[in-house]
């Protein structure tokens, strides 16, 4: 198998946009199924009432991670053709902190606010407007922050390369940590009285 298909030229740019739309449908569908169109449910993660955000995110990450690893081990997928966002460690960490602030204050992240807005939540729609304004502010101040934005570049790098630990061992370790985290989350939810947020 020649995976990823697009990188082997199985189809062109126009078809890739159709693929994008179909993949987006799946993405939006499961976000809404999980309850991620609801800001109360998302924010509850940060008050330890409902740990669905953690559970869904890490289930998704280990599902995709194990799948990608398996496909590369059996030789069907060329990992070197997979896009790896280059690491700029300090701006990405500061950006992450800002996202965390925005998450608690606004109740969503960009993907979940789309699902929120389209299912009728006014706060999700206002949040989307906020994102557009935020990106515009960033664009306008870009000349001032571009040095910082491009600082602490580490190139395209995986945790496996950084810590010099075989990729497969790390995959296994992340799965174990996630399962431990799930057990802790279930325990914490029961301990705190099962305040799961419903629609």
């Amino acid at each position: 198998m020649n995976i990823p298909f697009f990188k082997y030229g199985l189809f062109g740019d126009d078809v890739s946009l159709v693929v994008a739309f179909v993949i987006g449908i799946g993405f939006g569908f499961f976000l809404e199924r999980a309850g991620f169109g609801n800001g109360r449910k998302l924010a509850a993660q940060f008050y330890f009432n409902d740990l669905t955000v953690f559970k869904v995110m890490f289930t998704a990450i280990i599902t995709a991670m194990v799948g990608i690893y398996y496909l590369s081990v059996i030789g069907w997928m060329d990992l070197s053709l997979v896009y790896l966002n280059p690491t700029y460690i300090v701006p990405q960490t500061i950006g992450g902190l800002l996202l965390g602030f925005g998450f608690v204050i606004g109740g969503y992240c960009p993907g979940t606010s789309c699902v929120s807005a389209v299912t009728g939540k006014i706060d999700g729609m206002v949040y989307l407007i906020g994102i557009v304004v935020g990106i515009f502010i960033f664009g306008e101040i870009f000349p001032l922050v571009s040095n910082f934005y491009n600082s602490t570049s580490m190139g395209q790098i995986t945790l496996s390369q950084l810590f010099n630990i075989p990729y497969g061992i790390l995959v296994f370790a992340v799965v174990l940590m996630a399962i431990g985290g799930f057990a802790a989350a279930e325990w914490a939810e029961k301990k705190l009285g099962n305040k799961i947020v419903e629609p």
């Binding site: 995110m57 599902t63 950006g95 902190l97 990106i135």
Partner: protein
């Protein structure tokens, strides 16, 4: 709990088991990697939108700005004819389909009982703006960095993910009136 009577009255179905929705989401992400060699995203689509808007109103200004230019570089096509823009259109469609099938489409404002609607909407706007700035600084959001990079053990994505949870827990206490 009133959820049982709500189900009967409004036909609103409960959310799925988190592990089930997580597996679904993970398989969509895996499929994206298998077909395209790239993961998911969200904030990038809004960057294309903003760059297009600025370019329409003030083309000279947009061209002189490195950030907007990144989205306008290919002059042979519209900057909105972009993979992430189409993916996000799909997210809107998929979210609507799921919400409609579960009877969860309802005009409402999600908030805790101790904050006014206008207060909540102000927070939503401010939070969205902070998120927009943060996502651009981090070169991606929860989708493009945490999920997508997390699954391929990307260093920056994992640092980003820890920072998102850290930042949120750091300030959650001060915003509890909005949610609890």
């Amino acid at each position: 709990m009133s959820s049982t009577s709500n189900e009967v009255q409004h036909g609103t179905k409960p959310y799925w088991n988190p592990y089930l929705s997580g597996i679904g989401l993970g398989l969509v992400l895996l499929l994206s990697y298998v077909i395209m060699g790239r993961g998911l995203g969200a904030s990038g689509a809004f960057s294309s939108l903003v760059a297009t808007g600025v370019n329409t109103i003030a083309p000279e200004h947009a061209k002189s700005n490195e950030f907007y230019n990144e989205y306008l570089a290919d002059t042979t096509k519209s900057p909105l004819k972009d993979w992430l823009v189409f993916e996000v259109l799909g997210v809107l469609a998929g979210g609507f389909i799921s919400g409609a099938l579960a009877g969860r489409i309802k005009k409402t404002v999600e908030k805790g009982p101790r904050i006014s609607v206008s207060g909540r909407l102000l927070y939503a706007f401010v939070g969205g703006a902070i998120m927009g700035i943060g996502a651009k600084l981090a070169r991606g959001c929860t989708s493009g960095q945490a999920l997508t990079g997390g699954a391929v053990l990307n260093v920056g994505s994992w640092a980003f993910m820890l920072a998102v949870f850290g930042g949120a827990y750091m300030i959650a206490y001060f915003f509890r009136r909005q949610w609890k």
